[in-house]
């Protein structure tokens, strides 16, 4: 271990001017090269890290429904890359750091960093040290020493990241289907929300309903809208709709149909009278025309004084018969009884009082009917929404969220989709306000609440259908829907009034049987 050869020892030692500045000038190209290397290196790392981040996000999106994951991945990748490049540009290597780097790279034993620190020192040994550092430094070139080629590790990482991101992009994401379903559900929900809202506005503008009932119906519909908006699945939406329907059913007068039937019977009986005033009274009752009723009753009152007792007795008998026909509508029946008695007595003041009572009963009856119609309308709107949600889901080909009954239409119910006795909207055309013609076409019938494995055939007015497997729906919900549908069907104006009771009795007997 002998002493190493001393560095260059010039025979003459003179301190030259600006030696420190010359040293800095020598360091400049090194620092520039080092900066370029830093920018490239940070950029390479930025690319690799951004790709890894993008891979990570895309990977997450395969386990968690995240529709905007690709955009986030692109955004974060660009952000990381820009950050890396920005940092590299911002933090330019200092001379001190450059000197340390050169010392390490060239194994100069801290010559350059010491010379940099002592650049302004004029002590002979510092000058010697500086010259020695410069001499050593001049033996090397920045372009050779500081390589700009990417390292193997970075290349390997880049390759791995590229492959990973390519796989994640090319292999279909299983979550996309789910996201599409969610989007479709949301779109359907939005459509149904608009439809229900429209119904709500219509009901709000109906003057025939009392403000209290209108407010109640409005509240139920608004609650249903709110719950629908928060629904994240079709099951939740259906439950919300069923709940709203159930609440609407509670507003319904259970005797409404009987009262309406009684009124129809009474008016029909009055119309059969030979007396024109009584017949007009019957027509006015049937049509709910209060003015016509008032006019016919005034005519009747004016005729009473001119009639013989026998004629009044006959007329009273006809009115009494009508009152008996409408006995299910107690108020109307009572008013008719009162009118019959007044007519029989021939007392004009009694006839006048009885006429007022009859008008009041008719008016009350009309109001009840209007309220019931509004509830029916709201309920029907909700039912349409439920059917629409179920049908669209099924048409997407999933066949899992609703039972499906495929009916081969025989053209027996042209233009009519509400089929009495089926308890459900038949034909699945509710979204189109039941105006579709199913003649000669295959139509889908959805029967919520029916769960079946395999298939079964049902008969729909001569049509046959297949019930497919579906999700479970609460029994109470199904019963409520069927009950409502049955009620609506019975109240259909196309059904003759005298048959309505018959149909009602039939369903009552069925209910009693079960």
């Amino acid at each position: 271990m002998m002493i190493a050869n001393a560095p260059s020892r010039n025979s003459t030692f003179e301190l030259e001017e600006n030696e420190g500045e010359r040293f800095i000038e020598t360091l400049y190209p090194w620092r520039r090269r080092l900066w370029i290397q830093q920018i490239l290196r940070w950029t390479e790392y930025g690319i690799i890290i951004s790709m890894i981040c993008a891979c990570f996000l895309l990977l997450i999106s395969r386990f968690i429904p995240w529709s905007t994951a690709p955009y986030w991945a692109i955004g974060i990748a660009i952000g990381v890359l820009l950050f890396a490049v920005g940092v590299a540009l911002w933090y330019r290597p200092s001379f001190e750091r450059s000197a340390r780097y050169i010392d390490t790279q060239l194994a100069l034993h801290d010559r350059v960093s010491t010379a940099w620190e002592m650049r302004d020192d004029s002590a002979p040994i510092s000058v010697l040290q500086r010259r020695d550092a410069l001499q050593q430094l001049r033996k090397h070139a920045p372009a050779v020493t500081i390589s700009l080629r990417p390292g193997r590790v970075r290349l390997l990482l880049f390759g791995i990241a590229t492959i990973a991101i390519a796989v994640l992009i090319l292999v279909p994401n299983p979550m996309n289907t789910f996201l599409q379903q969610q989007a479709a559900l949301q779109a359907r929900l939005n459509r149904q929300l608009a439809a229900i809202n429209q119904t709500r506005l219509v009901i709000d503008n109906q003057a025939a309903i009392s403000p209290q009932e209108r407010a109640l119906i409005d509240k139920i519909l608004r609650d249903a809208l709110a719950r629908l908006q928060q629904s994240s699945s079709q099951e939740q939406a259906q439950q919300s709709l069923a709940q709203a329907q159930s609440q609407l059913n509670q507003l319904r007068d259970p005797q409404a149909s009987q009262k309406a039937q009684a009124r129809a019977n009474a008016s029909s009986s009055l119309q059969n009278s030979s007396n024109a005033s009584i017949s007009n009274t019957g027509k006015a009752l049937a049509s709910g025309d209060s003015k016509a009723l008032n006019s016919s009753l005034q005519n009747l009152a004016s005729q009473i004084a001119k009639m013989t007792p026998a004629q009044r007795a006959q007329l009273a008998q006809q009115i009494e018969r009508a009152a008996n026909q409408g006995q299910n509508n107690s108020q109307l029946s009572s008013a008719l009884h009162q009118l019959a008695k007044a007519v029989a007595d021939g007392n004009p003041s009694e006839v006048s009082d009885a006429s007022k009572a009859l008008e009041t009963a008719a008016s009350q009856d009309s109001a009840n009917t209007a309220s019931n119609d509004s509830i029916n309308q709201a309920s029907q709107s909700l039912q349409n929404a439920a059917n629409a949600l179920a049908s669209t889901t099924d048409s997407n080909g999933n066949g899992q969220n609703a039972s499906q009954t495929q009916v081969t239409g025989q053209g027996q119910n042209p233009g009519q989709t509400n089929v009495p006795g089926q308890g459900q909207s038949i034909g699945g055309q509710s979204e189109q306000n039941n105006t579709n013609n199913n003649s000669g076409k295959n139509e889908q019938v959805f029967v919520p609440g029916q769960v079946g494995s395999g298939s079964s055939n049902i008969s729909v007015d001569g049509n046959t259908g297949t019930v497919q497997t579906g999700n479970s729906v609460p029994y109470s919900q199904v019963i409520a829907q069927y009950s409502q549908t049955a009620h609506d069907a019975i109240q259909d104006s196309n059904i003759p009034p005298d048959l309505k009771n018959l149909i009602q009795d039939y369903f009552n007997s069925l209910e009693g049987r079960h």
Binding site: M1, M2, I3, A4, N5, A6, P7, R9, F13, R100, D103, H109, D110, R111, S113, T114, A115, E117, M118, D121, A123, P124, I125, S126, L128, Q129, D132, A133
Partner: protein, 375 residues
């Protein structure tokens, strides 16, 4: 006690004759022109000084290596301490040439050499000297009178070999303390400076521990370096045969005087040290302390006391010398890593766990160097 006293050097400033009465206690201190203890800024060494350093150092190393075979590392570390102005503790089994090395060094440097064989009955006065009563002729009265005069001990030499230093009692060992640190000797009420340069080389045998008195930490800390003298390899042993048992006897040439050596010490001190190198030295030193945050786990577990600030001085000074010996004008991190073992190995005091587990300070220093960041 084997004690060789050669002719009195004019540099010592110590009277060896018996003519002197009581000397003024601080007289010699006032006259001292020590560079090391000067508080004023000294003149910067020039190119010629540096060239002279490299020339003399190279010659001296060549001379030592030609005579002491197979101990190049020991010679290098000895020179590090010599040019740093510090003392060396040599540890090795007998027969490895420790005494030969020191004698050759004194021959090559034209310095006064003294060898003190430490034994249990050695007294401090045997080292530092004593005051004796002498009879002196009075010319005026033509009679004689008795006066006290100081008889300097063997410590009043430039190179003192304290052979088997751990065989003396702690009291005797401590007689070296003042001389090693202050370069003075206090006897009675007089403080006398030691000759310059003053270089103590202590030796101790690691095998025969019975009847020895391990050096106290304060004494150990005063040695700049602790050098381990290893057994030479086969090739070196062959060369030892050729050079020592033949007819030819090798004699070292004188390459420098004591004054030149003092100048070289001053030159070495001028070597610049960059801040990051100093910071690394500080980190190395702090890492030897178990209560420091950056101390490695083995240090926390096995060390009772870490190195003192003298260890840091030793690191930097010896690194400066090494830089010049390596042909550089600056201290590098590699210099520090090279001198950290001899500089700190005797300054790290192990605890009971360390001693029980057979951990050595070398192991710990190796861990410290591995775990201490260079930047």
């Amino acid at each position: 006690m084997a004690h060789k006293s050669e002719s009195t050097s004019p540099q010592t400033g110590v009277e060896t004759s018996n003519e002197v009465q009581f000397e003024a206690p601080n007289q010699h201190i006032a006259n001292d022109v020590s560079i090391a203890e000067s508080t004023t800024e000294t003149e910067q060494p020039g190119v010629a000084d540096i060239e002279m350093f490299m020339h003399i150092a190279q010659q001296l190393e060549s001379e030592l290596c030609s005579i002491v075979v197979g101990q190049e590392r020991v010679i290098r570390e000895l020179l590090l301490a010599l040019f740093a102005g510090g003392h060396v503790l040599l540890e090795g089994v007998p027969g490895l040439g420790k005494t030969l090395l020191v004698r050759t060094l004194s021959d090559a440097l034209e310095l006064k050499f003294a060898r003190i064989q430490f034994t249990p009955d050695l007294m401090p006065a045997d080292i530092v000297g004593t005051t004796i009563v002498t009879e002196q002729t009075d010319h005026q009265s033509a009679g004689s009178r008795r006066v006290f005069s100081f008889q300097p001990g063997p410590i009043f030499a430039n190179i003192v070999l304290a052979d088997e230093i751990n065989r003396a009692t702690p009291k005797t060992q401590s007689a070296l303390l003042e001389g090693m640190q202050e370069r003075t000797v206090s006897v009675g009420d007089a403080t006398r400076p030691l000759p310059r340069p003053f270089f103590v080389l202590g030796t101790q045998n690691p095998l025969e521990m019975e009847g020895t008195y391990p050096l106290p930490e304060a004494q150990l800390d005063r040695f700049l370096l602790k050098v381990l003298v290893r057994f030479p390899n086969a090739k070196d042993l062959m060369q030892i045969i050729d050079t020592t048992v033949g007819l030819q006897t090798l004699q070292a040439k004188q390459v420098a005087s004591g004054e030149q050596l003092m100048h070289l010490i001053k030159t070495a001190r001028a070597v610049p040290v960059a801040t990051h190198v100093k910071e690394y030295a500080v980190r190395l030193l702090l890492a030897t302390h178990p209560d420091q945050e950056d101390a490695p786990d083995p240090v926390r577990k096995y060390v009772r006391y870490g190195a003192s600030p003298r260890g840091l001085q030793a690191l930097i000074m010896t690194s400066k010398v090494r830089a010049l010996l390596e042909g550089r004008y600056n201290v590098s991190l590699e210099d520090l890593q090279n001198v950290v073992f001899p500089s700190l190995r005797h300054r790290i005091i192990l605890n009971f766990d360390g001693l029980a587990d057979g951990v050595t300070s070398e192991d710990l220093i190796e861990t410290i160097v591995e775990e201490t960041l260079t930047s």
